[in-house]
Symmetry: C2
Subunit: 192 residues, 2 copies
């Protein structure tokens, strides 16, 4: 296979991410969101919101990470954040998926993309922390717009949200968490 | 409204791009593709294929253009390339859409995003020409994968494809067109 053959095989394979459904709906509640359009949406979140990070970011790197971050779901599926799943088994599936999917590319690109995904998963660099925080704050934005969405489906309470999600948004994007938190609190207060 | 209020209003509004359907299907032919997941897919095309451009590119700029390039379709809709539409009327609708949608952002970002979209539309810079070519070559890739797709729906012949689409791919990405052209020719030859 030529280099272009390998690259095109990868680009055709990743089309399948459009068929991986998430727990979150569109803002109008009309249907579940898929992981490909979600990836587009949070890449745009990063482009718009990078200025609010605590340290200057390599925004292009954040965007690349977010374009790639969910590709392993083609094999491993999306694990809803408030669902129950075997974390260790999922990690094994995602590692195998990364090997298979990035492995479709020429070696140099496979390694570069894998390094971006590993950096994202490690959640240590400023770019990874910001990307992870953005990835966590888009579903609550969708839920606020649709009137509850996955919070209702998974019986989420304000306490669950503030314990399990809030700190993850706050890690990489405290200014954005400060903006979002009162809006989420108002939503749950309104549900009584 | 605070700066973050404006940015979040924009990011919520653009969710509507997920409901704009294109003439192209997914590679498995299961359903029509929407413009948000298409934007993700071609941003990834750009990341993988930028090395094949004739001149070194600012790849981050190409990706940003592609993340934004279809936002006007939220108001103006997608105009299938082999369909019939009033080009002048569509241009007017898209200009109005750009003013409204980018106008949701703080002024500096609205101007920066509008400048990226204008550069893409002008199709003159190397980044815009490459982005436009990538945007034109993803639908034939989907059609080859699905067994014809929009070519069949719109009664497209090899001659129509090579006259109307080929030159547009060739402008910004001649090496990629040289790779794609024989595959498209073989498809149409197979249909007799």
């Amino acid at each position: 296979m030529s280099r272009l053959d390998q690259q095109m095989a990868f680009l055709t394979e990743v089309d399948r991410l459009k068929s991986v459904l998430r727990a979150t709906t569109l803002c109008d509640g009309s249907r579940m969101e898929n992981s490909a359009e979600h990836s587009w949406h949070i890449a745009l979140y990063a482009l718009v919101l990078a200025e609010h990070a605590e340290t200057p970011l390599d925004t292009a790197k954040v965007i690349k990470m977010l374009l790639l971050h969910d590709l392993v779901e083609i094999d491993a599926g999306d694990a809803p954040v408030f669902g129950t799943h075997d974390t260790e088994a999922l990690a094994v599936q995602e590692q195998a998926a990364a090997i298979r999917i990035f492995g479709l590319l020429p070696d140099d690109q496979a390694q570069a993309f894998r390094a971006l995904w590993d950096e994202f998963e490690a959640n240590e660099s400023p770019e990874a922390q910001f990307a992870k925080s953005i990835d966590r704050m888009q579903p609550p934005m969708q839920n606020l717009a649709s009137g509850g969405g996955s919070w209702i489906d998974y019986d989420v309470t304000q306490n669950m949200f503030e314990t399990r999600i809030g700190p993850k948004i706050n890690t990489g994007a405290p200014k954005i968490w400060a903006w979002l938190q009162p809006k989420v609190a108002a939503f749950f207060a309104g549900r009584g």
